[in-house]
Amino acid sequence: MCWCRGLLVAWIIVTARVVHADGDLPDDNAIQIHGFVSQGGLLTTANNYLANTEHGSLEFTEVGLNFTKPIDDRLSVGAQLFARDLGPDGNYSAKFDWLQIDYHWKDWLGIRAGRVKVPFGFYNDTADIDAAQPVALLPQSIYPETDRNFLLAQTGVELYGYRPLGAAGAVDYRVYTGSLYLTIPDANGVHFSNIEVPWLIGGRVMWETPIDGLRAGFSSLAGEIDADYAFTAMPQLTGMTVQLVQDNYMGSLEYASDGFLFQAEYLWSHAHETTSAGVVWVRAEGMYGLASYHVRPWLQTTLYYSLLYPNLRDTSGPDHHQHDAAASVRFDINAHWILKLEAHYLRGTAAIDSSLNEGVAREDLANQWALFAAKTTVYF
């Protein structure tokens, strides 16, 4: 895989042409290259979250480089290499974020094949792209950083389209099926191996209403993960398997006007987990409300409140919920450079990884804590 990535980068460099040179008109089929580099820092007043944050962590880095080559006015190919480091995740291991052939037959029907981004809610398919977000950390009840290792793109096909509806506005839709190639890092004393995703299917429809700036959407995603697992503290126990069948649904609502942005999303999911020890049903909920205002074109302020219930059967203890109230400012220093500063007040520990906290159980971690994040990104 490494030689393949190197070859791709070399090909991009060799074949790249300057889009607009010597006063000539641009070549419509010229290769386009874009990239970004992000560096952030995280600090918590208690509990290690996403990284070793109690003493501050700079393990919050992302880098991406992509190219798109239009073959003609309907057909294009493209790929994006992406690497990140976030605490124990990533460790700068480069992977193809997306790699696809795109045939845009009509506006109401196109097809993408390869490794294709998964549309789910407003942000899942752009969660890697700091420049596209108002905040440094998206609401973790719906867009958890840890899921970015495997849930942002699938390998398969996607049908997509856009259809004006006259006086009723327009609708944008995407449906897809395929598989995930994923690794799950050891977490909470459990090691996973032989991970397979035999099927994955989903879709998103986004309705642009006749009211300027108002859109509403619905997303669904279902799939199965099969794996072997073992407890790191008890390696003598072998032969344990897990089959996880999960379906997720999300409703999305947005209103944007005159520099204001209001968003709300609600996620609910059902997981049917069959292990060597038995069968478990889990229902989970996540939701957030966000309000943002562009004070100036270069200054955006955002507030959001996010709430996670990973198991609706029990929401009472601190380890069964996580409330997150966040305030963020984004500075667009220039057209290619942004800086974000934000503060979070959190209550509950449901999304904390115990292994980052010396194995301390979630219910024994600090219930009320604060998180500060800073992130700067250069993109072109």
Binding site: H34, W98, T126, A170, H294, P297
Partner: protein, 153 residues
């Protein structure tokens, strides 16, 4: 006398209505919205265009003209005041918001942004040489070789 005065009042009222109607028509269909003119290639059969169609074309949600020719939108650079006016009037958002939109599209593999040209003369040249092109220029620019179309709001 009263009848004549009544006729005068009627003519006056009619004139006022005609002026008001003309003003409304001028804002509903205009070849020069906010001092920015929309230009297309002379081969393009369209005489008017909906504002929403312009928005869809420049955000590449709509990619084909009615005759199936590919729509080729062309932008000015982000520092251009003409682009600022165009973005505000036609796309309903400022340039920073458009830039964020394209960051989402470009980095998620859903497309590429329109080319950005440095001068309005280059925009005219581009539109004149591409059958499906659509661009915008300010009022004082020589538009020989392209067609100015009216915008229906």
């Amino acid at each position: 006398m009263g009848a004549v005065r009544g006729e005068d009042d009627g003519v006056l009222l009619m004139r006022r209505w005609l002026i008001a109607l003309a003003l409304v028509m001028a804002t509903v269909a205009s070849a020069d919205p906010g001092g920015v003119r929309i230009i297309v290639n002379p081969k393009n059969g369209a005489r008017t265009i909906e504002r929403r169609t312009i928005e869809e074309a420049f955000l590449k949600k709509r990619t084909r003209w009615d005759d199936d020719t590919a729509i080729l939108p062309v932008d000015l650079t982000q520092k251009s005041s003409v682009r600022e006016r165009f973005s505000h009037d036609m796309l309903g958002r400022d340039i920073a918001a458009v830039r964020r939109y394209w960051a989402q599209v470009v980095f998620s593999g859903r497309g590429v942004a329109p080319p950005e040209l440095a001068t309005e003369a280059e925009v005219v040249k581009y539109v004149a040489s591409h059958a499906g092109a659509i661009g915008y220029v300010s009022s004082g620019i020589d538009v020989a070789g392209v067609k100015v179309i009216e915008v229906n709001r």
